[in-house]
Symmetry: C3
Subunit: 275 residues, 3 copies
Amino acid sequence: MKKILLTTALLAASTGYAAAEVAVSGSARMGLIYNGTDTFFTSRIRVSFKMSGTTDGGLEFGASVRADQAGEANSGGTSMDAGSVFISGAFGKLEMGDVDTAANALVGNVSGVGLTGLGDWNELGYMGQEDTSILYTYSAGAFTAALSAGQIGTEAYSVAVKYSTDMYSVALGFEDEGFGFDHQQITLGGSATFGGATVKAVVADSDHASDTQFALSVDYKTGAATITAFYADHSGNESMGLGASYDLGGGAKVVGGVVDTGFDTIADLGISLSF
Amino acid sequence: MKKILLTTALLAASTGYAAAEVAVSGSARMGLIYNGTDTFFTSRIRVSFKMSGTTDGGLEFGASVRADQAGEANSGGTSMDAGSVFISGAFGKLEMGDVDTAANALVGNVSGVGLTGLGDWNELGYMGQEDTSILYTYSAGAFTAALSAGQIGTEAYSVAVKYSTDMYSVALGFEDEGFGFDHQQITLGGSATFGGATVKAVVADSDHASDTQFALSVDYKTGAATITAFYADHSGNESMGLGASYDLGGGAKVVGGVVDTGFDTIADLGISLSF
Amino acid sequence: MKKILLTTALLAASTGYAAAEVAVSGSARMGLIYNGTDTFFTSRIRVSFKMSGTTDGGLEFGASVRADQAGEANSGGTSMDAGSVFISGAFGKLEMGDVDTAANALVGNVSGVGLTGLGDWNELGYMGQEDTSILYTYSAGAFTAALSAGQIGTEAYSVAVKYSTDMYSVALGFEDEGFGFDHQQITLGGSATFGGATVKAVVADSDHASDTQFALSVDYKTGAATITAFYADHSGNESMGLGASYDLGGGAKVVGGVVDTGFDTIADLGISLSF
């Protein structure tokens, strides 16, 4: 959470004026990326707008959207992206816009490596859904359930459940890509923390992929450093990655990684900044 | 006006530092829309930047621009939109950019209904004008006069006058679409408030439309609820709408409406948020 | 620097919470521009995001990006533009993104005139470089050295040095446009201040231009007014400009200029605002 949010929160506290607000935060990165053949400079800047408020009856609501400038060549920026709107209360949280499937939101992915994500080979892939999509989440103690759907008429939907404690979590998700695709996927994920180490695993069984997909990661935190390794089997193609992040404090980290994609060895190194 | 503006105003007061500033505010909505045949999810997020300052001699100046993410499918956002720049003082207010015609600014429209505007059938339509357009407004007590023009060479212009008190207003506008169009329109509008009810009416007489157009609306406010109804005759096509808004406090409202467009019955329902 | 930055800085001081932050500032202008034949309205609005932070070890880092709405017709805004990311410390400042060449950054241009820049005939032209480009700057007392390069593989690079005091500066730059262009340019610039007058001169010698290019400007500041004149010889085409700026305080200026481009006489006049 960013400074501007703190200022408005502080002033709200000091003035007794509790209003909706817009918090502006940002992220940026700069470094080098090796695509298996050549090395390039890479940089990216993003501005995030996070809006939040509370009704007189105590319901929380908000919206978020992102303004991006990205890419190896950042001459052309993408405009407002990844926006969603939500309202939440005792009934749970209802979110609409450019939202993830329930399975993606609850099962998620094992950890990736590198400054840029290096092709996200740690991810097994969740289904896309036509926007405006919708995601409903309900939590009770350690238990969370989620239900999502693509735009009405697409018949795309997903359901997922998760049980999560400080030490471990397990999650199960189901996705149906909907009308015209006849494509379904079941995902099962888990994580566990042992001292400084966190192990994550995800298994995905799709009726389109010939084999079950599998991914495993370990994050090991020691002082300001975090070492991450992952292995992923995408229906027979094996990929693996090794990365490290060193926290410089104040929102800056040195981040780098190497990934064997099964076809190439790619790598990156640089500085990741959050504001 | 949003929280960030308050914080800067408060700090300006406490520090004696009176500088120009940029206030960031936002709006969002989420809900369902029925187009006469099918129902769809709908959501929208907008970020607004409102800049303001004061010269040493007491002239006020400012600019505003909006970053939008909109649509039934908000995968593609529109970039910076609806920007204008102004300077104002005893001489009035001079505004340039993407501004409305004088008639649109002073006569305006009767109230619409619904979360999304439902096609804006309450509006009779003002003329477009090529940007950079210009709008000059002068107020003296209850009286306001306005003059606008499209980009130089387009010969598009508009003049309007308005008399407005707390209880009622009347406004008259004239628009000429300019070079190559030979299109003119006169609009006459009025509003009056009786207790919780506000009645608005607009008549538009264009030399292109076969008949005079007419629109009437009633807003009735009772507690946190506002009920709105309108009737509009667009050169013989009759449309009417009924809507309601319930204020949840903190910037959130439940808003819905039904419109008989003369061709279809369309409707929407959802939550409207301002930050 | 803008107001929002002040608020976060003030609150950081009062709370002891030193975090990275995003400062939002803006600029706008409105006026008239004469293109040698016709006169048009002109307006522009820009929002700037400036992010900054400090690591625990005292390194400074940041990023900046701009959201623009511009043009004679500002119906279509450009999205996020001109972004760059930097980290700086005792080793100097390393910046990546959409950065200038070293020669452009250190030698720069003589002063231009007018609200809109009027075609920037005061500039002799520096080389473009494919982004992500990189700029490294090192300062020691009055001396600054800079090195820049285009994206790896383009072989475009630039080196420059500058010696700068309160009274005068001299700078020398070299640019090579890189692979496939065989194009090089040397630029030499200087400035000196005598009372209210600042004189600037730049000479550019390119192996593509038939003659040496030359530009000279004088800025004369008296009270709230600044008068600027320039002369530029672009390989035989002589252009000259005369402009004035009057500071109204609070971030507003009246700005105008006339330029004889060698082909036409163009001019503009309006209000320039910063927030």
